[in-house]
Every structure is written in C-alpha cells, then in structure tokens.
C-alpha cells in the first residue's frame, strides 16, 4: 500500500546519516537525525521544490487597509505573454473562507479589503520576472472605506465595521473571569500598585518565508507541499475553501525553515491549491518575499494591559484586577485563543485568591495577529512580572523573596481558579536562581560598570500551559512499523520546524526497541502516510506525540517478541530480549534477525498505531463553554525563573543584555542538547521582543518592510545563556517530560525591563526598550527630578 505513495520527489523515508553508535538512551544528548542533511545543504525544504515546467504563482496584494471591491481588472495582465492565468474570487469554487476558529478570511477578497496584505488576485506566470510585471498590471478598483487602526477605537459604537455579519461588531471575542471575591479582595490589601502596558507586534521573521509547491496528479489528487506546522488542518481548510473533496487533497510537510507559530494555519496553501487547479497538471510554486511576508503574514498580537495588584504589607498577594485588549487585525486566525491564553496566564505563577480578569479582542485594519511562540503568555507575563517588581519596590522587599512568598505549589489554585495536581517546580526554579553565581555575584558585577554605563539585574517567574486546554481534544496518533528489511520506521504526525522532535522520535523508538539509530527510519508528516496528530504548537509535540509514540513502540515490541518466541519455539515472549537488529532467546542461545522475523509477518502485523489524548483540568471553572473551547484552562504547566543582567548606555540609551540565566522546570529532560537549544533560542527571541524588534505600522501600512528596518538579534546581541533544568517528574509526560518549546520566550521582557529599572531607575509603559525610548525616559526622569517636568510622565522604578 505504501509503495504507491512512495514518490521520492514528494516525500522520502529518512534514515540515519550519522555514525551507527549504540541504542539512544533517554536522558542523554542525542544529535538530531536531520543535522547531517541540513549541514550539507542536502535537506529539501518546501522552498527547494521546483520541477519541470514550473509555474510561478503570486498574489496581488490590496495595498490599502479598508475598501469595498468594485471590480478587479485582470484583462491587461491576462493578455501578457508568459501569463498562464489570472484568477479572482470568482474562480474559487468553495467557501472562499479560511480560518482556524472563525472562518472569516477570504482566500481572494470578494466584497471587501480588510487589510493591506489581503490578496485580490492570483497570477500564474512562466517565470518570476513575468509574474512581477503581471502583478503590476492587475488593477483592483477599490472604493476606500474609513479604517480602524486602534483597538480601542475599534470598540467604539461609531467605528467602521470590519465584518458586517459579525454580531458583536468589531469585538471578536471577550471573556470575563472572577475568582474568590474579585475586586472586593482589594479591601484586604495594605498596598496596591497600578500600571498600564502596551506591547508591540512581533514578526516571526523565520528565515524561510512562506512558501509551497503544488501539483494536480494524474489521478486528480491535489498535492500541496508547504512550509507549515499544521498539515492535517491545512488539508481540510484548503478542501473547504476550494470546494474539493478532502480525499482529493494531500498535504506534505517537510521541515519548515523556522515557523514559531507563524505557520500555524494557512499561508500559501489555498492560493497554491487554487493555482494548481488552473495549471493543467504543471507544478506551481509560490514563495513570498520578505516584504510580502511582513505585510501578509501573521504577527504576535499587540496588547494593551491595565494591571492593578494588591498585597498585604508582608508581600502576600491578595487581589489582582486585569484588563487586556488585543488587536487581532482583520481576521480571527487564533485571536480568540491567544486572548484566552493571555487571560489564563495574566496572574503569573502565583496564588492570588481574589481576581477579576477581563479581556477583549478587537478587529482592526492592521496586520493579522496570530500564533507566536508563547502566545498570549508573553504579553501577560511581560506586564505581570513588572508588576511584581513594582510591588516589591513599594514594599521595599527583595524581588525574589516576594515571588517566593507567593509561588504556586501543588494543590494551589491558579489565578483563574484551576487547582494544580501536576508537577510544579516554580519554587525550585527560583531557589536555584538564588543559588546561581550570576545571581550571587550580581552586585559586584553591577559595580564594575564603565564610564557612562550603568548596570542592573532583574528577574522574572513564568509559567506556560501545555497543550490545547479542556475542549479541543489534544490527541496524537503514532504509527510505527517493522519494515520488511527489519528496520523500525516511525511515521511522525507532528511537524518538526526546528525544535528537534524528529530526533526525539529516534530517541524514543531506539531506546524502547533497543535499536541503534542506523536501523531507524522516519517519515515526516504527510496526510497520506502519517496519522493526524494536531498542530506543532502549544509546547505539545513531544508531550502528546511522544506519549503516543511510546505506546506504539511498546505494542510493536510486544508483537515482535511474541512472533520471535513462536518462531524460536520459546515458552513465552517474556523469555525473549530485543537487541540491535535481532531478537535473542538467552535460554537457548538462539536468535533471529529482525529482517528474517519481518519476512514472517504481513504488513498489517508489522504496523502498530497508538493514540494518546492529553489530560485536562479536573475541576470546571465557572466560564462559558465558548471560553473553554478557546482553551481555558490548562492542567499541566512548565515553569521558569529568569535573570537578566543588563548594561545601559547613559549617552545613547542602548540596553545591552550582558548575562542571562534561565532555570526551567520542563519535567525530565530527555535530550539535554535539544533542551538547551529550545531555551537559548526562545530567550533570544524574547530578547529581541524586549529591546529591539519594533514592527511599525501606520494607518494599517507596514513601515518596517525588511530586515534592515526590522532589527533581529545578531550573534553580537545575544549573550551566552546559562541554562539550568529543575527536573521534576511529570507523571503524565513521556519519560516524565513537559513541553519546553515556549517557556523561555516570556521571561526576557520582564527580566530585562526589571533589570533596566534597576540600572537607571526608569520603567517604560511599552516595549521594546529601544535606545530612543530608554534615553527619552532617562531624560524625562531627570527633568522630573529637577522639577522641570510638570506632568508625571514616567514612573520612577
């Protein structure tokens, strides 16, 4: 059965390219199976698919933020030599709508343009040069509409509407939660601190921009190869939007060249599918350039956060009031889910008995908000952990001590009221931070600042929910096969966009089945060959898929042992032992090679599947079913404590992050190298978010259109990060692990902001803490101190 799908151009069975070595052990560093192909340039990404008679497809972007579509004139472009087709919404035979939760985003706009990056027409051309010229010839006739560029404006009753059919106007989604006595809890507080924060868009800036390749096969199957985190969901979205039987659509997902949430959902897939349907069987390629990626791709949602936090004079938290407002741009995408996750994590990893938490998510004509590593959590933690330092300052308490007094322990309730029954290493993380040399030596280090430099240290404590939450089933299906050649083949259902779960698959299968890596094989996600296992998101891939894989490997092992026992006439399977390449019967000293054993088994017998569904929070919290569907609340969390040591230039305002410590509880670490990769990489992204990544949008137009204006951290900007693991044992996790993919992302903003406050005494209401902003704030503070500033524009510390 498999053979008919074994088109090596589309997908291949991957072996092990490194030295054979022994069977991989869980708990030891193990190189990723894809390292060899990536380091030699042999790895084939979606961007590397071309093929004979290739057609290039490209989208005409609206370029205006809000408009009614009167007509799209395509005749000129169609007449150009080398243009194969120019398509509009009239050529879309399905729903022409896509979206993860609310399907409100057109493939090609029909009635209205809702942001500058909307696609109004799709051009197919023989080469890229012709494509570019043809796109210039497409003339949309657009009647401008007044735009909404501010989420607060969007919610005013007289605001222009983005979606006239949406019952709540520009309010995409809202949720209000109360735990304990709510705001009445403030009456028991000795002190209160209050602050507003404003957060920016953050661009994923993966090196491989949105890209894919598609072709209609001779049997009518539409094959889409895409750089995606969600092949199975893409398949059904593309089928619905284009009006195709889902059986007719196959999505293949090679390793993406980075994703971080930005490829959680449709980017090029439906446009490519549409193009392929009009390409007469020729392959079609679409590859957004950086400017198009910035304009049309999703970003981390900007948020406005109002915080009010109350405590006793001993620093015991008593009450929290939060109002969050997210700008989702023109489409839901995952806006409601991001908002809900922000709400769940708004109070941080603390016991706060009385909370009143409200969140709103608004439609605007800005770029699309979407999933980005630690979505919602990064925004909330950035605010909450600065509140903790403000409170510590008010009470003249040590910032670590006040956190330790309030951290969640097993059995406590989270700020939304979920009682925690799983592993919690928050306290251990903070204690380990306190014992670390970077913390112990911080005062001495601070004193060593040179002329015009000031140094400071700041900490943060964060938590992050693993998986989808209570309603959407967090399920993975693993498939493992003993091949006819006696090798073990893992069919992975979840995408590895660089986090290394393909390596983990080898490690899990190799250790359970006692096989050396050179006898292991891997098939990457492909809707025809592997089983649906959900998105590569929510720090769930190894947690959920790993559990499924363990079950499948154990079942396959049992089957192999039983078959070997029969063949060698042993008394029972218990007498058999698996070894690399064979099964041995120590009692008789006989053995049978796996290849020989496989010859006695038909394919169904050699194949095992196993399903795992992640646990959900045991006790219901009083929220609507709709809020629960959006993912509230979680039950398994990872935790982390971060310490940033920064040097601020008094003359330029530049914040240089010089030292960094991350202590995390992600359960047991099964591959220390992969664990460090995740932490170091997510800290670097958080650092960029904290001090330099300033995605600028004015009236819906993106102003930072390339990597020379949107500044990413380089090797010069990211310090060596000390990575420490507090290894709790999570009983529900594979080998005791919890997710590590995102936890490192939300610590840097507050840790760095707290360090800047420690260094120069200013706390800004918005990040990134760019040179200009920090300098201006320092000057504002000087004016304030000298009495020249009449208005209190900046909080001091």
């Amino acid at each position: 059965m498999d053979a008919m799908h074994d088109d090596p151009y589309l997908t291949k069975v991957r072996g092990w390219d490194g030295p054979a070595g022994g069977a991989p052990e869980v708990g030891t560093s193990f190189p990723r199976a894809d390292a060899w192909s990536k380091v030699t340039g042999a790895e084939k990404y979606a961007a590397d698919y071309y093929g004979q008679d290739l057609i290039w497809a490209g989208a005409k972007r609206a370029g205006v933020p809000h408009a009614r579509v009167k007509a799209v004139h395509v005749e000129e472009a169609r007449r150009m030599p080398g243009v194969a087709a120019v398509l509009t919404h009239k050529d879309v035979k399905g729903t022409n709508r896509q979206g993860v939760v609310r399907k409100d985003q057109p493939v090609l706009v029909d009635d209205k343009v809702r942001h500058c990056g909307d696609a109004v027409a799709l051009v197919l051309a023989e080469d890229r040069e012709t494509l570019k010229r043809a796109l210039e010839q497409v003339a949309p006739d657009l009647e401008p509409l007044p735009g909404v560029f501010d989420p607060e404006d969007a919610l005013r009753p007289d605001a222009p509407l983005l979606h006239e059919d949406h019952a709540d106007g520009n309010l995409l989604f809202k949720a209000d939660l109360e735990a304990g006595e709510g705001v009445k809890g403030f009456s028991a507080c000795d002190v209160e601190v209050e602050h507003d924060f404003q957060t920016p868009w953050q661009e994923h800036a993966y090196l491989e921009t949105e890209v894919g390749w598609a072709r209609v096969e001779e049997d009518g199957t539409l094959v889409i190869v895409a750089s995606t985190q969600t092949p199975f969901r893409d398949r059904s979205e593309a089928a619905d939007a284009l009006g195709l039987d889902i059986e007719r659509v196959r999505v293949v997902a090679p390793f993406p060249g980075g994703a971080f949430g930005g490829k959680d959902g449709i980017t090029v897939q439906t446009l490519l599918g549409l193009a392929a349907l009009h390409a007469g069987g020729r392959p079609v390629k679409m590859w957004w350039d950086r400017e198009e990626s910035f304009a049309a791709g999703t970003k981390r949602h900007p948020a406005r956060l109002h915080y009010r936090l109350g405590a006793t004079k001993d620093g015991i938290l008593k009450a929290l009031q939060v109002y969050l407002l997210l700008d989702t741009g023109p489409y839901d995408h995952l806006g409601g889910v991001v908002m809900t996750l922000a709400l769940e994590h708004a109070g941080g990893p603390y016991r706060i008995p009385n909370t009143s938490l409200s969140a709103r998510c608004a439609y605007t004509n800005n770029p699309i908000g979407g999933a980005f590593r630690a979505f919602g959590v990064a925004q909330a933690a950035g605010a909450m952990e600065q509140m903790m330092d403000l409170l510590a300052r008010r009470l003249a308490m040590d910032p670590i001590e006040i956190r330790l007094r309030n951290v969640l322990r097993k059995g406590d309730r989270t700020p939304i009221g979920v009682s925690l029954q799983h592993s919690i290493g928050m306290e251990e993380c903070l204690s380990a931070l306190k014992r670390h040399p970077l913390y112990l030596e911080r005062e001495k280090w601070k004193a060593g600042a040179g002329p015009f430099k000031r140094r400071g240290a700041g900490a943060a404590a964060v938590m992050l929910g693993i998986g989808y939450g209570p309603v959407v089933p967090d399920v993975a299906n693993a498939k493992v096969r003993l091949t006819r050649k006696g090798r073990i083949r893992v069919y992975s259902g979840v995408v590895d966009m660089g986090q290394g779960n393909a390596a983990t698959c080898f490690q899990i299968a190799g250790s359970i089945l006692s096989q050396t890596p050179d006898t292991l094989e891997l098939v990457l996600p492909d809707t025809e060959r592997t089983l649906p296992s959900g998105s590569a998101a929510a720090s769930r891939t190894t947690y959920t898929f790993g559990n499924a894989l363990i079950g499948a490997c154990q079942a396959l092992k049992q089957r192999i042992l039983e078959k070997a026992a029969d063949l060698l006439m042993a008394a029972s399977a218990e007498e058999m032992v698996m070894e690399p390449g064979m099964v041995r019967h120590p009692v008789s000293g006989r053995d049978v090679p796996l290849a020989r054993l496989a010859a006695f088994m038909a394919e169904p017998e050699r194949t095992v599947t196993h399903r795992f569904r992640a646990p959900t929070a045991p006790d219901g919290i009083p929220v609507s079913e709709e809020v629960r569907i959006h993912g509230l609340g979680h039950t398994v969390f990872s935790y982390a404590a971060h310490l940033a040591c920064v040097e601020v230039d008094e003359l330029t305002g530049e914040v240089d992050v010089r030292r960094y410590l991350s202590v995390s509880d992600c359960g047991r670490v099964i591959n220390p190298q992969a664990y460090e990769q995740q932490i170091q990489g997510s800290v670097a992204q958080g650092l960029g978010y904290a001090v330099m990544e300033d995605f600028k949008v004015r009236d819906g137009q993106v102003e930072t259109r390339d990597l020379s204006t949107y500044i990413l951290p380089t090797a010069m900007d990211v310090p060596d990060v000390d990575v420490v693991a507090v290894q709790t044992h999570e009983t529900t996790g594979p080998f005791g692990l919890k997710g590590v993919g995102e936890i490192g992302t939300s610590g840097p903003v507050p840790a760095i902001a707290n360090a800047v406050a420690d260094a120069v005494g200013v706390r800004l209401s918005r990040w990134p803490l760019t040179d200009e902003r920090v300098l201006e704030a320092m000057q504002g503070m000087e004016a304030l101190i000298s009495g020249k500033d009449e208005h209190r524009r900046y909080d001091i510390r």
């Binding site: 380091v39 990404y45 993966y206 090196l207 491989e208 921009t209 660089g498 460090e676 990769q677 990489g681």
Partner: protein
C-alpha cells in the same frame, strides 16, 4: 553570455544572462538548492557562498561576477559521509535547528576561521554578525566554531 568559473572544484561553462542573480543561477539553473534565500537584500547571510575563499552574498551578486572566479557552495564543502570539520562541529555541538541559516552559517564560519584560525568567542560573534539565525540564539554556533577551530589547529599541528 558565456560565463566560465570553477564551481566546487569543477570547471563550468554556462550560458546565462549577465544580470541573473547568482542565487537564482545556483538554485534554479544548476539545482544547487543548498544555497538558501531568506531576504534578497543582503541582510541575513542565508545565501552566503565562498568566492575565491571569501564569504559573499549570492543574492547581491550577478552572474557576470562569477566569471573566472572559484566558487564554493555548501554542496562543495563536505558530504554526509565525510563532513568538513566545521560541519562536524555544527552537528556535534547542536548548532543546527531549523537549518535554513545553516549552509550560509557554515560557509561564513569557514571564511572566519581562515581569517582568524584561533578566534575568541567575541571574535566569532563579531564575525558571524552578518548571518541571522532565528532558532538557536547563536550560542551553540559559537560553541561549534570554537570546537572546529581547535580541531583544525590539531590537524594542522600534525606532521
């Protein structure tokens, strides 16, 4: 026009428009997709190739600039069976994640080690500042270069 150059040690004579971007020529005309493109404006370093041993950005080079030069792309560095010491260090030290920056990073590293055979971590960071990586936070790439430098020094020390 006819352009003659050495590509990964092999003499090449190709017909190409003089203004064709080298990255397109490599990827589309010659099928060498190991050279990546990520920005097209010389900001990210993903398209790095070696021109007479020096790191250059193939997205900013035109075909005519290849004439009579010696070019090394990632395909000419080492094979999966016999990695170059820099590639070996990248694998061993965990300097590869999504891998899209990796070919450019490896070639830039080779140039860096040619200029600075025994670089400090600071020199490595400075030398690689033109190559963006969004996954690793650079630390393991710096580790890999340190390891590669000492490995190469060891090799040179041998008689």
């Amino acid at each position: 026009m006819i352009i003659r150059f050495a590509l990964n040690g092999e003499e090449k004579e190709i017909e190409a428009a003089p203004d064709r971007r080298v990255v397109d020529l490599l990827r589309e005309d010659l099928g060498l997709t190991g050279t990546k493109e990520a920005c097209g404006t010389g900001e990210c370093g993903a398209c790095t190739i070696l021109v007479d041993g020096a790191a250059r950005l193939s997205c900013l080079m035109l075909a005519i600039q290849l004439d009579r030069r010696s070019i090394t792309t990632i395909e000419g560095v080492g094979s999966m069976e016999a990695l170059h010491p820099v590639q070996e260090a990248f694998v061993e030290k965990g300097a590869v994640q999504c891998g899209f920056c990796t070919p450019g990073m490896v070639l830039a590293s080779m140039d860096l080690l040619r200029e600075h055979p025994a670089p400090t971590r600071e020199e490595i960071r400075k030398g690689l500042a033109g190559n963006l990586c969004r996954c690793t936070g650079y630390q393991k790439i710096v580790d890999a270069l340190e390891a590669a430098a000492s490995h190469l020094a060891e090799k040179r020390g041998k008689p």
